[in-house]
């Protein structure tokens, strides 16, 4: 097997060093074509299709495999990829070269040329090899390259070779594929034509030098949502204080796109500018209007005030592009027959992208995905190519897809590799599963969940022991039993991080077989669980706690309402009901004790849609109702989480995965304190306890909703709770729950953090073995970062989904007037909350094309005086809600004031506002 060896000589930066490496060429790498006798079974891993699909190419009518070169693969895989057509040789061409295809670098030949030659040799070898195995099939390998020289050489050597464009054009069956080609070829020859708008990006080596010496600063580019000519760069220095640099003007932005990592150069102080407050959207269709841009830039600068000036810079180079495919819509070019169109992304921070397509009219009014290919120096907009058509705007599925994509929620179906790690059905508990596991199937366990819940991850039991104490058990689905560390299933779950619940859809973190079946603790089936069992006295004091992996058999899956009914009805006295009553009694004591310690009960308006079972259209909105049983389950989950957190931190002080909720800085509370003061109430915010107490006391007999409003406001003052690794931080406190330590243990089906906690706990009790990543605090910290990001994104996606359904709801409902409370007062608007729908919206008092009303804003009280009416926070108003579809891409709910009446500003409840309604009507007409 060891055939020959070669020596590579290499010098390193600094001293010249001779490095000798040997390299074994193999004679056992197969071609990957199934049924190839020559390399019988020598190939492992992905296999070529036995009979490649007939792609109906006019250039090569026979069935063939494609062999793309690296550049084609890199740039086009997303665009023209169709499974099965590519020959997967590129990977086997890498270092462990096969004996027959190994190519040595020649004198004077650079690495790229050598690689090109290696691919050609491989293509040739493949062609000869395939001839041997199937002379009658005439299987061929076609070499795809965009490099002219490479193609010429290949044809000289007798390898059928085409450029990517030629090949795709020849695919007569799929003419639409041509649009998806990344337009890279033009980049080189276009430079001569047209004016150069942007200065050149510096090469990476120079940037790194500059960053080291301090002339350039490295940071993340964040485009402004409001103003396309402005952006900020967050410089993450070594020190704590992150610096922010303002960039203004197209040339200074220099082709950076939102979220790129860029290098910026600070401008001299006399060129510093202040962040402008102007809202500017890029609307011009004509792309050569550079003069106009300059004029616009001047508008930005005029408003500068000496004090407001901030460090200003310009982008000198891009360190890392963070391009991804963007969702948005096509703005069709005015010129007929034109193939070049501009694409407007849904995210305003992304510049418009020029794409080339022949199907513009088909794509108009649809949500599409476009990828950026490049941004030449002479082009006002980046060049891109069409990737995918998602569907009609306003269509529910399309919009869901868009919001998932925009929030970076991985929602593709699980891959075969992931599914292969699922247990085989029919599944039952085997002897091996029972190792290190306690049999608790005899216990009377039941689960309480919201109606329609299929991923039941917790169940409870409570029974009286012989010594008069109570035994309480929380049983959590043992997901870590099925998801073993390191395999594809585990990696995919870690990547997804959390299950995302949208209004009508659930994006699972783990495949459905696990989430809704094997791990779901349904009633009357044997399930594996991780149990946390306490012995408590009747005062809910914990006497003993133990953790064990177990097997349980739930006796009932109840909804909150059913459980409540059982507790309340005196007639029922079965085992489940007594168990529930015991739990409920203990939960009440626990809750009281928790609140005494200073845990906050906060409130946020949560809505639930009643869906039409046929069309899945929302037919009614309802704020969520809370029952005693909700808090009963919650109480025991909190208790389990805290107990587990203590245990894993005790066992693994350096690498326990915990969750903390930092105390907010006092300045966060300002708005709450001021708001309460305006109603003559005092809110103390020095500790969580005093805040909780003062919130409890803040009641007004004439205004019962005030307390809820205050709690909503208090929620807004809070910080985000985050996961962290105990070895990387020393503040563990959970502010909201007033617990010194906390983690997530109780929902492993929908949160990856819980799976890690399960694994840690299993190791701690000796029920499972550990693995290196689990005890590596840096890896754990990285994982926490991803989980925090995914949780945030999942929340945003959820909110976006609610917002979209609210729109649908109001679209069907038409225009309504509702009572609302003022939540915030802004300089030119008030933010109101409509309790009936839990809906929040902004009422603007300044509108385009209308005379400006007289506005006086007082920051101290917060109040806003418009003409003669003063608005205070928590004032009751009446607003009209309607759907504003003037911008197809960003439909939104618009609210306007009805009561109190202010002439010229408020509108009467019944006359429809014409200029808002019009586009809506037009759209309806088109639909007909």
């Amino acid at each position: 097997m060891l055939k020959s060896k070669t020596f590579l000589k290499k010098t390193r930066a600094g001293g010249v060093m001779k490095i000798v490496r040997e390299h074994y060429l193999r004679d056992d790498i197969g071609c990957g074509a199934p049924g190839c006798a020559a390399c019988d079974g020598a190939h492992e891993g992905p296999v070529l299709e036995p009979q490649p699909l007939d792609p109906a190419s006019s250039l090569c009518p026979r069935p063939h495999y494609l062999l793309p070169d690296t550049n084609v693969l890199l740039h086009q895989i997303l665009s023209v990829w169709r499974p099965g057509t590519w020959a997967s040789v590129a990977s086997s061409l890498r270092l462990p070269g096969s004996l027959e295809t190994y190519v040595e670098q020649e004198q004077g030949e650079n690495a790229n040329d050598r690689n090109d030659r290696a691919i050609r040799v491989a293509a040739k070898w493949y062609n000869e090899h395939l001839k041997k195995i199937s002379a009658e099939n005439h299987l061929q390998v076609i070499f795809i390259t965009n490099d002219k020289k490479n193609k010429e050489k290949a044809i000289e050597e007798g390898i059928p070779a085409f450029t990517c464009e030629e090949y795709v054009k020849s695919l007569t069956a799929n003419p639409e594929l041509i649009d998806r080609l990344a337009c890279l070829s033009e980049e080189g020859n276009e430079i001569e034509s047209g004016r150069i708008i942007f200065s050149e990006h510096l090469p990476l080596s120079k940037l790194q030098q500059g960053i080291k010496s301090g002339t350039y600063l490295q940071g993340t580019f964040r485009a402004s949502r409001e103003n396309y000519l402005e952006a900020t760069v967050w410089v993450h220095g070594d020190t704590e204080d992150d610096k922010e640099i303002i960039l203004q003007g197209l040339k200074n932005l220099n082709r950076a796109v939102h979220e790129d990592i860029v290098a910026v150069e600070l401008l001299p102080k006399n060129q510093w500018v202040a962040p402008s407050s102007v809202v500017l959207h890029d609307e011009g269709q004509n792309e050569d209007d550079v003069e106009k841009e300059e004029e616009r830039e001047r508008i930005l600068k005029t408003a500068a005030n000496e004090k407001m000036l901030k460090p200003t810079g310009r982008v000198v180079g891009i360190i890392k592009r963070n391009w991804r495919p963007y969702c948005g819509m096509l703005s069709k070019s005015d010129i007929k027959e034109s193939r070049r169109h501009l694409f407007t992304p849904a995210d305003r921070r992304i510049p418009r992208i020029r794409i080339e397509t022949r199907q513009a009219s088909a794509l108009e009014g649809r949500r599409i995905i476009v990828a950026i290919d490049g941004w030449p120096r002479n082009s006002r907009y980046p060049n891109g190519h069409f990737v995918k058509n998602l569907g009609d705007v306003g269509d529910k599925e399309t919009e869901t897809e868009v919001l998932l994509l925009e929030h970076d929620v991985p929602h593709q179906p699980f891959s075969q590799a992931v599914l292969s790690f699922l247990p085989k059905m029919p599944w039952s508990i085997t002897e091996k599963d029972m190792k290190n596991r306690e049999d608790l199937r005899h216990l009377c366990v039941c689960s309480v969940d919201p109606p329609g819940c299929t991923d039941i991850d917790d169940a409870l039991h409570c029974r009286e022991l012989e010594n008069g104490n109570l035994e309480v058990g929380v049983h959590i689905a043992d997901v870590s039993h099925f998801i073993r560390p390191g395999n594809a299933l585990d990696q995919e779950s870690a990547r997804r991080g959390t299950t995302v619940y949208l209004c009508e859809k659930r994006i699972d973190m783990v495949p459905e077989l696990l989430s809704s079946n094997l791990c779901s603790l349904r009633c009357n089936v044997d399930r594996l669980a991780f149990s946390c069992i306490w012995e408590m006295n009747h005062n809910a004091e914990i006497l003993k706690v133990r953790f064990t992996k177990s097997a349980i058999n739930s006796k009932a899956s109840l909804t909150y309402a059913e459980a409540q009914m059982r507790i309340d009805s005196a007639a029922m006295n079965d085992e489940i009901t007594t168990s529930l009553r015991g739990l409920n009694k203990l939960a009440k004591i626990l809750k009281k004790r928790r609140i005494e310690k200073g845990a906050l009960t906060l409130s946020s308006p949560e809505v639930r849609f009643h869906m039409d079972s046929e069309t899945h259209d929302p037919i009614d909105l309802q704020t969520k109702e809370l029952r005693e049983t909700n808090s009963m389950v919650e109480e025991f989950m909190l208790l389990a989480n805290i107990s587990v957190a203590k245990k894993i931190h005790e066992e693994f002080s350096e690498h326990a995965l915990l969750r903390k909720h930092p105390a907010p800085p006092p300045s966060n509370y300002e708005i709450l304190v001021k708001a309460a003061k305006s109603k003559n109430l005092e809110i103390k915010t020095d500790t969580a306890k005093s805040l909780a107490d003062s919130l409890d006391r803040a009641d007004s007999p004439t205004f019962p909703y005030l307390n809820t409003l205050l709690r909503i406001l208090a929620t807004r003052c809070m910080m985000q709770a985050v996961y962290f690794c105990s070895g990387m931080d020393n503040d563990f406190h959970h502010y909201g729950l007033a617990s010194p330590i906390y983690t997530h243990f109780t929902s492993p089906i929908r949160r990856y953090a819980d799976i890690i906690v399960h694994r840690l706990l299993a190791v701690a009790i000796g029920a499972d073995c550990t693995y290196p990543e689990l005890t590596d605090k840096h890896k754990l910290a990285d994982l926490c970062k991803n989980l925090n990001f995914r949780h945030k994104m999942a929340q945003y996606a959820q909110r976006a989904s609610v917002a979209f359904h609210t729109q649908l709801f109001f679209k069907s409902k038409g225009i309504v007037s509702e009572e609302a409370y003022i939540l915030f007062v802004r300089k030119n608007a008030i933010v109101v909350l409509i309790p009936k729908y839990g809906l929040e919206g902004t009422v603007f008092f300044e509108e385009k094309d209308k005379p400006k009303p007289r506005l006086i804003y007082d920051d101290e009280i917060p109040s806003l005086k418009i003409e003669d009416t003063v608005f205070h926070i928590f004032d009751k108003v009446k607003v009209k809600i309607m759907l504003d579809s003037s911008n197809l891409q960003h439909q939104k709910i618009r609210m306007s004031l009805v009561e109190p009446q202010i002439p010229g500003i408020s509108i009467s409840a019944d006359t429809p506002n014409m200029d808002i309604d019009e586009p809506e009507r037009k759209k309806k007409k088109r639909e007909k």
Binding site: K18, R21, E22, G45, C769
Partner: protein, 245 residues
Amino acid sequence: MAGLELLSDQGYRVDGRRAGELRKIQARMGVFAQADGSAYIEQGNTKALAVVYGPHEIRGSRARALPDRALVNCQYSSATFSTGERKRRPHGDRKSCEMGLQLRQTFEAAILTQLHPRSQIDIYVQVLQADGGTYAACVNAATLAVLDAGVPMRDFVCACSAGFVDSTALADLSHVEEAAGGPQLALALLPASGQIALLEMDARLHEDHLESVLEAAARAARDVHTLLDRVVRQHVREASVLLGD
């Protein structure tokens, strides 16, 4: 950090080997006429020379003599030109001393020292080129040299290193793989009995994985034994041809 990929998705290592495969081993016995026994071994690019003197009378202080068995004296050195950057001191540094002690331990376990009480056996090993697995190469070279000297041994001592990358045990690490900083284990095995003469590891590795790494090292050591056995037989055949004439 995107470090060097030590094990590709296809299961190949940086130099084209699979996880359990050894580097190419070439060895010769009897390379020096003056010494009692000598051998030279190449394991890939790691090259080592071993020379054995003895058993002979104790040199130097007689107090060191052991009443019941022979004294094994090992000295390790590596040539100044053995590594990429020239070394300052060819021997006598802490690493060399440690290696000498390890070799001594290894061979005290293998040589039948009780047959030669109050005498001394010297083993000198020099590494000419270091490309990972120096301990293993030294032990293998020394085994051949001791055999060449005709000193009675229980068995061959065959050594091999093993590492652990991406939950896979890799046998016979090269310098590149060693430098990546993963756990590394050195094993000297008496293949016939399966007894371990020396086992050394100074990085952290979870005990669940130890078995697989140990198994990989032991399998590789047995492979080394097959090769060394072949070298010894070849050498004996050549010597007997010369004697026969």
